[in-house]
């Protein structure tokens, strides 16, 4: 029973990891860019949520209404201002520029908020639980998982059933010809990053409610997101959800064996999948 509980908790945790990963996956899909600052942007969103909740007294989940558009705007500006210039065949510029960005964001957060761990207060939501088949499931983890599923469904819908999604796919296929269709690729990339950071904002707020955070944890979140993407398979958002779940379960089960093994178990699961299925479980595109 206790093991079942771990697996279920891990599954729900996977929802949060899938949210970390979704933005990463989207950006890679549209512009073949891997944003090393992604984790730090998640943390930035958490801090923005913190500022909004402290300033307005809003519930953290409601703070999303302000933080999500703010992060989307930041994403658009970042893409058009800096990242668009790094795109091209060379691998180094986007990697090194986003790495530099990561250092800047981390230290900016340190300057403004200090290194003290922070946490957002979601009130009763944090401790509420429902009883399902003898297990006590936290409402917050359930909600997080549900949000993850909804976000991924939303992204899938956007990608495959809207004109914007068509534009994303076209630009990712062939930038030049997409321009012939009247698509300004700099604008399209900006929108893609805005969308990715909007998702990241949701992830950040949920993170900030769930655990305490400080400016240095960005790297760890990036790695979780990345592992979820690789396990699930590149180019497949539902696969990313599965990847997140596998990672979450590996971590919680590992923690059950020995609390010090939590993170290591996740990495080991990732490495095992990498050995057995280098392209992930449900790949759609190759790296």
């Amino acid at each position: 029973m206790e093991w079942l509980n771990s697996v279920v908790q891990g599954t729900l945790l996977g929802g949060l990891y899938a949210l970390f990963a979704a933005g990463l996956s989207l950006i890679f899909g549209v512009m073949r860019l891997v944003n090393i600052a992604h984790g730090d942007l998640i943390v930035l969103a958490a801090y923005l949520g913190l500022t909004v909740t402290s300033a307005t007294g809003l519930h953290p989940l409601l703070a999303m209404v302000l933080v999500v558009p703010a992060m989307a705007a930041i994403g658009y500006a970042l893409q058009r201002g800096v990242l668009n210039q790094t795109l091209g065949d060379d691998l180094l510029p986007p990697l090194l520029v986003t790495f530099g960005l990561s250092v800047i964001i981390q230290n900016a957060l340190l300057e403004v908020y200090s290194a003290d761990p922070q946490k957002m207060n979601a009130g009763a939501l944090e401790t509420a639980s429902v009883s399902v088949g003898g297990l006590a499931l936290g409402v917050l983890p359930l909600l997080t998982f549900a949000i993850a599923v909804a976000v991924i469904a939303g992204l899938q819908f956007t990608f495959y059933r809207t004109a914007l999604g068509r534009a994303f796919r076209a630009v990712s296929d062939n930038q030049d010809i997409a321009q012939l269709m009247g698509l300004n690729r700099r604008h399209i990339f900006g929108l893609a990053m805005a969308l990715a950071l909007a998702v990241t904002a949701v992830a950040g707020i949920l993170l900030g409610i769930r655990t305490s955070f400080d400016p240095s944890i960005g790297g760890g979140r990036l790695i979780f997101g990345f592992e979820a993407v690789i396990i699930g398979g590149l180019g497949n958002l539902w696969g990313t959800l599965v990847g997140g779940v596998i990672l979450g379960v590996a971590q919680t089960v590992g923690a059950k064996i020995d609390p010090g093994w939590q993170l290591l178990s996740g990495h080991i699961a990732f490495l095992l999948i990498l050995v057995v299925r280098p392209n992930g479980l449900f790949p759609r595109v190759s790296g």
Binding site: L95, I104, L264
Partner: protein, 341 residues
């Protein structure tokens, strides 16, 4: 009718001058324990170790196209091997350093086998994951201090040399020696057949492959060698620090972020670049370090601006302007002086 002759050569006037200047500078540096103060000696030693790390990272990223943000794995590994081999293996520290390099080579093989399944930026993050695995694993080893780390026993420290100034001179010379060794090794490697293959791969992988160059074997080799030497440097670093802990040993900031900035600012893909970059980095650090986080933000910003505006770094700008190569690698056509008609 005058008939001018041309011949193909590798060196140039500038390279010859640089070699002479370099030799003089080297002699001055070797003599440093006699003219430099303790703090300056430590600083220079640190500079040499960073130069070595930067040259190795540059070899991997700038020539082999292997962008790793996980070399801290080997720095920490080397450090821990030093501690383990001296404390439990009874080895003399200098022997342990070399052994750490060998062990670094060994462990890099399975690591490479795993992460070479990833490409590009995913490879980069994969190297970071491996570094995390190393960190978490060593944190579990209680005999080496577990999560909080351990200090090098006095007995072992004293076995290096008797007397503190003798030890500091020795540390300094080892750091200088390491830097010279690494830069020389990188330079000679690039001059060799393998180095030529590497440059071909960097310039056009498809064409290189069609010439019969085994791309993956070459990259694999570079990864092993660079990681082994990085482990050796790591051992040296922690011999100087006298204390090790998982967070310090495997710190992304200390051993990767700063190294990357050095290489990017100095000039990636050139032998001279890391040297320039290390000097610039330390100059910035000595002047700005009081500003703490602001200093790091400035560093990040400078790296971004350099990458966007001058992707070949400071040395790249100099080289483009003056067509200089101090470490002769390329061939050039030179006119043979006329012998009269």
């Amino acid at each position: 009718m005058t008939y001018k002759n041309y011949h193909v050569t590798r060196t140039s006037q500038a390279a010859r001058i640089a070699a002479i200047v370099g030799a003089v500078v080297l002699i001055i540096l070797i003599a440093a324990p006699w003219w430099a103060g303790r703090a300056d000696l430590r600083l220079m030693g640190e500079l040499f170790l960073y130069l070595a790390l930067a040259s190795l990272w540059n070899l991997m990223a700038g020539y082999a196209g292997l962008v790793s943000v996980g070399q801290q794995a080997y720095v920490g590994f080397g450090g821990y091997m030093l501690f383990a081999l001296t404390m439990f293996g009874g080895l003399h520290p200098t022997v342990a350093i070399i052994a750490a390099g060998g062990l670094g080579a060994l462990i890099s093989i399975p690591v490479a086998a795993l992460i070479f399944r990833l490409r590009g930026a995913y490879f980069a993050i994969g190297t970071w994951v491996m570094a995390e695995v190393f960190r978490l694993s060593f944190a579990q080893v209680s005999t080496l201090g577990g999560g909080s780390g351990t200090s090098l026993p006095v007995k072992i420290v004293k076995s290096l040399a008797s007397g503190r100034s003798a030890r500091e001179s020795l540390s300094y010379w080892m750091a200088l020696g390491a830097a010279v060794l690494v830069v020389a090794a990188v330079y000679l490697f690039l001059r060799s057949r393998n180095g030529l293959a590497l440059t071909a791969i960097r310039d056009n992988e498809l064409a290189a492959g069609s010439l019969g160059i085994d791309i993956w074997r070459t990259k694999f080799l570079v990864y092993i060698v660079a990681s082994a030497l990085t482990a050796m440097i790591g051992a040296l670093i922690f011999l100087q620090k006298l204390r090790i802990s998982p967070d310090a040993a495997f710190s992304v900031n200390d051993w990767t972020a700063f190294v990357i900035f050095i290489v990017v600012i100095g000039g990636i893909g050139t032998v001279e670049g890391p040297i320039i970059g290390t000097l610039v980095y330390f100059a910035l650090r000595e002047t700005l370090a009081d500003l703490g986080t602001i200093y790091l933000m400035v560093l990040g910003l400078v790296a971004i601006v350099v990458m966007l505006r001058a992707p070949k770094g400071v040395w790249g700008l100099i080289r483009a302007r003056f067509d200089l190569q101090l470490f002769p690698l390329g061939h050039r056509v030179v006119r043979t002086p006329d012998k009269g008609d």
